[in-house]
């Protein structure tokens, strides 16, 4: 019996290692906001959301679509999903009070605890079977259809009945029958438990009726040592069956743990969906494209982090970067460049984990890794200079870079003068572009940005943060080549009063 709601034919692994750059990614993209919204205060939901989103780089398009269909089922049947989830939680919580009796050091103890748990599970499995019978018709996705069908088949009534009989037999009220041979020092060994073919038969009658020779040894009443040895022999006899019973109980428990875990992801998505719909954010299921297909376009893309924290609506951005390998973003300070970069990263992660995105429409190639290199505050420990720290992080990224990765740079390599910074950035970006990666870069390094205009390179998309002619920001990014200043003059003007109009030298880039 398998859950397989996150992967077709595979369990979800909550223990899988997160990528080594996970802290940077979480910090730079503001992923905590996303996970918080999914968790709705539930620690377990938070953990599953984080794990699912941050391990989504290895997922193929088929799995993305598999999850999208399941998520749509969930959004249609929120109450049923909650019931299933609650049953799993109830099973696990109930077992929490009992599991330790299985952890006994003697096989008798192990068997006793296991039989108790199995007995409890029988009731729950019967309930699960009834739920499957009731819900199956309302779910359309491949994943859920298969899940309910499996429950109905595997937990057929006659199977559940035969289990009940065995659970009763496992109490060994008639004594334990084992076969043995003589081992080292003529001590009995190779104890194998035998299933008696009869029930409620008097042993002695049996022995005489079959004409077996048999010799009985009685432990004297006061022989405590003898009684202890006898129970140890019994333990050796039931060692394997106790193990089998306890492991079965564990397997059933793992089934419910997995069920809870995998449902938790969808429950998180349902929570997020509810919140964003309330805020009036447009949501849609994205269209994933194969890696390296150089597709990337969207309409009305929002930064979820911002949307979740602000009460008023947020501005959506459009992008049409078909066939582009590098998106180079320049323009006004506080013009929405970083927000856009974050929304690109978030949408990518959400798409790859099978979620909806905050956009009217979104299509993008899937990537095998997502890396962020954002400007940071000065290192408080004074252990290394800022540029040193930036390059160290860059080195770390390069170490774990895989083909078909996506990199988001936000004002990188600006910790030195523009000439040097530009040269460093140019060399790094040039080299990266010659491998199969996709790059979004927000930069103020004019010389660096300009070098990409001059060289008439293909696959480069230029975006610029807009400002109105009076200098106010619209937070909209529009296609546009770099301008020699990042409008810091605005600030100057704001403080020193209006001076000359700036030359709008958009022809500078030829």
């Amino acid at each position: 019996m398998k859950v397989h709601l996150l992967f077709r034919g595979r369990d979800f692994d909550l223990q899988q290692n997160l990528p080594p750059h996970e802290p940077d990614l979480t910090q730079d993209l503001g992923l905590h906001n996303l996970f918080d919204a999914m968790a709705g205060g539930d620690e377990f939901l938070y953990r599953v959301a984080k794990q699912a989103v941050l391990t989504s780089f290895s997922i193929d398009i088929e799995t993305i679509l598999y999850r999208q269909a399941i998520l749509q089922d969930c959004l249609r049947n929120t109450a049923s999903i909650k019931h299933l989830y609650d049953l799993a939680v109830e099973t696990i919580e109930g077992e929490r009070k009992h599991w330790w009796s299985r952890a006994s050091r003697s096989p008798s103890g192990v068997l006793f605890g296991a039989v108790e748990s199995l007995h409890r599970f029988m009731g729950i499995l019967t309930k699960l079977k009834r739920m499957a019978d009731e819900y199956a018709g309302h779910f359309k996705s491949t994943g859920f259809t298969a899940f309910f069908k499996m429950i109905q088949e595997e937990l057929a009534d006659e199977y559940l009945a035969s289990i009940k009989t065995h659970i009763k037999q496992l109490k060994f009220r008639e004594g334990v029958l084992v076969s043995a041979k003589l081992g080292k020092g003529n001590v009995g060994t190779n104890y194998v438990l035998r299933q008696p073919q009869w029930r409620r038969t008097n042993w002695f009658r049996l022995i005489f009726s079959r004409r077996l020779s048999a010799y009985t040894y009685r432990i004297a009443d006061r022989d405590e040592a003898g009684a202890r040895i006898l129970s140890e022999m019994r333990d050796q006899g039931i060692n394997l069956v106790a193990n089998a019973a306890a492991q079965s109980a564990d397997h059933i428990l793992s089934f419910f743990i997995l069920l809870r875990t995998e449902l938790a992801f969808y429950l998180g998505c349902v929570n997020l969906h509810r919140t964003l719909v309330q805020k009036g954010i447009p949501l849609s299921f994205p269209v994933p494209a194969p890696p390296n297909s150089q597709r990337h376009s969207c309409v009305g893309l929002r930064d979820i982090g911002l949307a979740l924290t602000l009460d008023h609506g947020v501005v959506g951005n459009d992008l049409n970067a078909e066939g582009m390998r590098l998106v180079l973003i320049t323009g006004a300070n506080q013009g929405g460049k970083s927000t856009f970069l974050r929304s690109i990263g978030l949408a990518q992660l959400m798409m790859q984990s099978g979620m909806f995105v905050a956009a009217e429409s979104f299509e993008a190639e899937i990537c095998r890794g997502l890396f962020t290199h954002f400007k940071r505050e000065e290192d408080a420990t004074m252990e290394c200079g800022k540029l040193d720290e930036e390059l160290k992080r860059m080195n770390f990224i390069v170490e774990s870079l895989t083909p078909d990765s996506m990199l988001l740079f936000n004002e990188s390599f600006a910790a030195t003068n523009e000439k040097e910074g530009s040269e460093i950035a140019r060399q790094i970006i040039r080299a990266l572009l010659e491998t199969r990666v996709k790059i979004f870069i927000v930069t103020h390094l004019y010389e660096f940005a300009l070098s990409f205009c001059e060289n008439r390179m293909n696959h480069i998309h230029f975006l610029r943060a807009e400002r109105e002619s009076d200098g106010t920001r619209t937070f909209k990014l529009l296609p546009g080549k770099p301008l020699p200043t990042s409008f810091s003059a605005d600030l100057y003007e704001e403080i020193f009063g209006n001076g000359e109009e700036h030359p709008q030298s958009s022809d500078l880039c030829g």
Binding site: M1, K2, D11, R102, R105, S106, P107, V110, A114, S162, I163, H166, G175, V176, L177, V178, S179, A180, K181, K184, G185, N186, V187, G188, L193, R194, Q195, I207, R210, L212, S213, A214, Y215, T216, Y217, R218, I219, A225, G226, I229, L230, M233, R234, D235, Q236, G237, N239, L240, V241, N243, A244, A245, A246, Q247, S248, D250, H251, I252, S254, F255
Partner: protein, 544 residues
């Protein structure tokens, strides 16, 4: 006699020694295929008196006690120390051992012997266990196993030796003995009977019905394995790996009364098999062959030593089989080292410095001088250790060795604990050295370490000179560690050995000892230089 003549003379002497060895070897071999005495002593008359439990007097001074402790560590069951306390009486026996040692250095032979020892240990463990069991059929089962293991051990050793083809005459003689033994009627019958009784017992199957307070033993009746039934019925829930709940039952060391009762009933159900066991035990009480048992113990002398020197070889140190001669008197050792010290340094992962020594022609006495902690005492110990170990028939530290087969070895090391008064100690020193000189012959070795340090320099020079003159007259080999530079060129028999320091940093010892004239001056000056106290330095400093 000129030095060249002396050298020539000694080379010729050396050659006669070697040819003498060869003659002995040839003479011995035809005899030996007929009779095997023991693996340590070729002939019964080589094995002198009782085994000694006390180490020779010089053991402590040369740190041989530490070395032997390390060699025999973890092998107390064999009581090997007496073998290291007593030297074989003659060169033939030393060569007998060297040959065996060389064979055992071969991986295959070494492995065969190790395997045999492990099996024999198992035999002993089984016999011990058997004696401790109160219940008859438990005791007899362990005895039966002991016999089975012994037969296997002996047969396997025979097969291995036939395959390995040892070349040492000792091992070949033993191999011959083993073949005769295993082909004897008695041994063959032992093997046969063991097998028969074993197979009868292991064929027995029975069932146990365990209920509260009682056990019923009955003949086996095939029924299904219920564990697999349960496993099967729950198999559809399998979800990857889960905890293993099986409890590990510790193997029963001795039989308890409930098991004994079960066994008794199993015996009632299978009377034939147990009657056979009774007969077997009664008729093979003394199944061990004493020569094989002795071999198992004595061969450990070689194994222990070879395994001990492995740790030195692993760090690149060399061992060699010395050429020994009791005739005159040319000796050399290249790349020697102190075993006890090297053992310690390896554990501390420190470097080990090797040293050479050579005495040619009429040279007899090493006078060792130099800074404290410079390796002087170590040099003396190396000289003594190497000679002693060589005389046991073992390979010695060094890449090449020509050594002297001495009759007695004496050491005179400073003994702090015996100090009572100043005069007491000096007197004690003199008494000891007098006794040594009275007992020593021209074939002895004397090793002296810091004699007369408790008297004035003038007295010490006088006394030591007298002693060394006596030693020179006796014409014996001697190492004398001293702080008295004056004695390093006493006469043509003395060779001066100096512990060296690094020229530019005199506080660093190289632990290299060189054959050169002793001049304490260079050392003292360099220390002064380091503290800027030379004349020149002082002049400059004062000027400032």
């Amino acid at each position: 006699m000129t030095p060249t003549d002396t050298q020539f003379e000694s080379v010729r002497v050396m050659q006669t020694t070697i040819s003498e060895e060869c003659r002995l070897l040839e003479a011995a071999s035809p005899l030996l295929s007929f009779h095997f005495h023991s693996i340590l002593f070729e002939r019964a008359e080589d094995e002198t008196s009782e085994e000694s439990t006390e180490p020779p007097e010089f053991f402590y001074d040369l740190n041989l006690d530490q070395i032997v402790d390390a060699i025999t560590a973890g092998r107390s069951e064999y009581n090997l120390k007496p073998f290291f306390y007593k030297r074989p009486r003659n060169l033939t026996c030393i060569l007998y051992r060297q040959q065996i040692m060389r064979d055992l250095e071969k991986q295959s032979i070494h492995a065969s012997i190790k395997s045999f020892s492990n099996q024999m240990r198992s035999v002993r463990l089984h016999l011990n266990a058997s004696e401790k069991i109160h219940y008859e059929y438990g005791r007899k089962a362990w005895f039966l196993d002991a016999v089975e293991l012994y037969c296997e051990a002996v047969l396997e050793l025979g097969r291995s030796l036939n395959r390995d083809e040892p070349s040492a005459r000792g091992l070949r003689a033993f191999q011959e003995y083993l073949t005769q033994y295993t082909e004897s009627e008695g041994f063959k019958a032992l093997v046969q009977e063991t097998k028969a009784v074993k197979s009868k017992l292991s064929a027995i199957r029975y069932c146990l019905l365990i209920r509260n307070g009682s056990l019923t033993v009955l003949n086996s009746d095939s029924e299904t394995d219920y564990s697999t039934v349960i496993e099967e019925i729950f198999s559809r829930f399998k979800q990857g790996t889960v905890k293993d709940y099986r409890v590990q039952f510790s193997p029963v060391s001795s039989m308890n009364h409930v098991e004994a009762a079960v066994l008794e009933r199993v015996a009632w159900l299978n009377p034939d098999a147990f009657r056979a066991l009774d007969v077997f035990c009664a008729s093979h009480r003394d199944f061990l062959d004493q020569k094989i048992v002795t071999f198992d113990r004595q061969i450990q002398f070689y194994i222990a030593y070879l395994e001990y020197i492995e740790r030195f070889k692993n760090v690149g140190l060399k061992f060699c089989y010395p050429r020994l001669s009791s005739l005159r008197k040319n000796m050399a050792n290249r790349d020697g080292f102190d075993l006890a010290l090297a053992d310690k340094l390896i554990r501390e992962k420190a470097d080990i410095v090797c040293n050479d020594f050579t005495l040619k022609g009429c040279e007899r006495i090493f006078v060792v001088t130099g800074p404290n902690q410079g390796g002087k005492t170590t040099f003396a110990r190396v000289f003594g250790q190497i000679h002693y170990i060589a005389s046991l028939g073992c390979p010695v530290p060094g890449s090449e060795a020509r050594l002297f087969l001495f009759d007695r070895l004496f050491t005179h090391f400073e003994r702090e604990e015996e100090i009572t008064t100043l005069r007491g100690k000096l007197k004690e020193d003199l008494i000891r050295i007098h006794r040594i000189l009275a007992e020593a012959t021209s074939n002895s070795i004397i090793i002296i370490n810091e004699m007369f340090s408790s008297t004035s320099m003038k007295d010490a020079v006088f006394l030591t000179r007298r002693i060394l003159e006596t030693i020179s007259r006796l014409d014996l080999f001697c190492v004398c560690v001293t702080f008295l530079d004056e004695l390093s060129s006493l006469n043509e028999k003395t060779v001066s050995i100096v512990a060296t320091v690094l020229p530019d940093n005199p506080t660093v010892r190289t632990y290299k000892l060189e054959r050169r004239t002793a001049d304490g001056l260079a050392y003292a000056l360099s220390i002064a230089e380091k503290y800027r106290l030379t004349y020149k330095q002082l002049k400059e400093r004062i000027q400032q």
